[in-house]
Structures are given as C-alpha cells and as structure tokens.
C-alpha cells in the first residue's frame, strides 16, 4: 500500500507532535505537517476521499482526544471527518491560505473543551421540550462560555446541546449537570466529552 496522501485531524498552533496509535485508514502513526507555526495533525492514507466507517470515525475522535490531552490546554482546531490531501505541499498551501481563519478559531477555543448534554424522556412520558430547554439554560448556561443546539434525532430526545466550557470550569460544569439531573429526575441525562470543540469552530477548507 502506498500511502502518500495526508489525512488531517485538526490543526495546532506551533510545536510538533508525534505518537503511535490506531489511526484512520489503517495507519499507525500520527504526526504534524507544519507551516509557519501552524501544525496540521495528520496520518498517511492512500486516498483523498476516505470512506466514513464507524471505526474510522471513532479513530478520528480518539486521535483528537489524545492530541488534546497531550497539548494540555493548547488550542486544537478540529476538522470534521474526511479531510485528506494529495501531498504535504497541497496541505501547506491550505495552511497558508486559511491562516487567518485558523488563528481566529484558535483564539476562540484556546483553553476550552466541548461537553455534550442530552436528556431522554421515558417511553410513555409526555415532556415539554421548552421547559427542559429552560431548565438547562438556567442551570448550565451560567457555567459555559457558549452553547449550540444539536439535532433532536429521536422523539424521545428532549434536549441535545453542546457546551463550550473553560478547562478550569470543568468541575463546576460537572456539578451543574448533576443539579440538572436532580431537578429533572423524570429524565435520563447523558453527559459526554470532553471533545475537541467541533461545534464551535467553523473553518472549512477545500480538500485535495
């Protein structure tokens, strides 16, 4: 297999990173391709149009999580699944072209993490979604920097939001989620993360 293309997980500010892990498309090493203090976190791949399997989507998330852990508070701008580039050269061109956008996104997410809160109603219950939203707003919003609503993909799902939280406020947010759980003991709360802040960066780059 000749894996000469580069699959991109996200972009970090300055520095380099390298570690061995199960990466997307069967690769086993993650490293950085840098251009002027912007480092694209990549692994080698043999296509510029990777198929999104469950396993590879999970690996994409796992790699980003490991990068976040290793970078300890350094900004990581995550990419959505599926960004792959022909060569180092095309990738560096993108880093050059989108540099201001990456810098802005980095400022937005520096020192912050994304956490997810879902609330699920019991099968036979009727629940007022607006009331649940109001409770979440009152209890969770004060501890978060920002939040965005996500798709309510099931009629049993009565709340689905992502929160951008300061790393230092993580415990306070945990407590707030516990308070929401107490307040709404008719619901099952699913609390997930931390994730790279996908929902709060909007850097779109043309692939290939």
């Amino acid at each position: 297999m000749s894996a000469t293309n580069r699959y991109v997980y996200g972009v970090i500010g300055g520095g380099t990173i390298e570690f061995e892990t199960d990466a997307v498309g069967g690769a086993d090493r993650v490293y950085t391709v840098s251009h002027r203090r912007l480092g694209a976190v990549v692994s080698d791949i043999d296509t510029t149009d990777p198929e999104e399997t469950d396993e590879d989507a999970q690996r994409h998330d796992d790699v980003l999580r490991e990068v976040m852990d290793r970078e300890e508070g350094e900004a990581v701008v995550p990419m959505q699944f599926g960004m792959a580039f022909e060569s180092d050269r095309t990738l560096k061109n993108v880093l050059r072209g989108a540099r201001p956008a990456f810098r802005r996104a980095m400022n937005d997410v520096e020192g912050r993490i994304e956490l997810g809160v879902k609330a699920v109603r019991d099968e036979d219950d009727r629940v007022d979604r607006d009331a649940v939203e109001a409770d979440a707003e009152e209890i969770l919003e004060p501890v978060a920097e920002q939040s965005v609503p996500n798709d309510l993909f099931s009629d049993r799902l009565v709340l689905n939001r992502s929160y951008l939280v300061e790393r230092d406020e993580r415990e306070a947010f945990d407590d707030a989620v516990a308070r929401l759980e107490d307040e709404r003991d008719d619901l099952t709360i699913r609390y997930t993360g931390p994730f790279a802040p996908y929902s709060f960066v909007d850097v779109k780059i043309g692939a290939q």
């Binding site: 879902k118 699920v120 099968e123 798709d151 993909f153 099931s154 049993r156 799902l157 099952t188 699913r190």
Partner: protein, 84 residues
C-alpha cells in the same frame, strides 16, 4: 374547476412520476434511517436497550441504509427506469 384545470395543463406521466418519486423517498428515506441509527445508539448508551437488541437493530438499519443509498444513487444517475 381548479384541480381539473390544473391537471389538464400537466402531462399525466409527470404526475405519476412525481407520486412515484415521493413514494420512493418515503420508502428509502436516508435521513430517517440515519436518525434511527442514532436513536438506537442512544437508547443502548442509556441502558434502555440490551446489547443484543442494539446489535440486531443496528445491523438491520445499516442494511436498509445501504439499500436506500444505492436506490438514491441510481435514481440520481438516471440509470434506473421506473416501471409502471
């Protein structure tokens, strides 16, 4: 009469095609199947569905989703003729 007038201006085949497309869209609704996959995952995560139920449902939905995507791809490519 409005309906009749309206129909007279359209070729009959066009209406049948439109109805057929609606039926196909409902039968092979990719978005709805994707939502069901996410719901299945969520209900498993909160312990509302056993691992066995979860796996069975997941396999079933993934199969349906493959078929639905294939149907849409073929329809879009115009390689499929709708038989009446």
């Amino acid at each position: 009469m409005f309906v009749l007038d309206d129909l007279l201006f359209r070729p009959f085949v066009g209406i049948v095609d439109a109805l057929h497309t609606i039926a196909l869209d409902e039968l092979y609704d990719v978005d709805a199947l994707e939502d069901e996959l996410k719901e299945n995952q969520l209900l498993y995560e909160i312990g509302d569905r056993s691992e066995e139920e979860y796996r069975e449902r997941k396999a079933e939905l993934e199969e349906k989703l493959d078929v639905a995507r294939e149907v849409h791809e073929r329809l879009a490519s115009g390689r499929v003729e709708v038989k009446r």
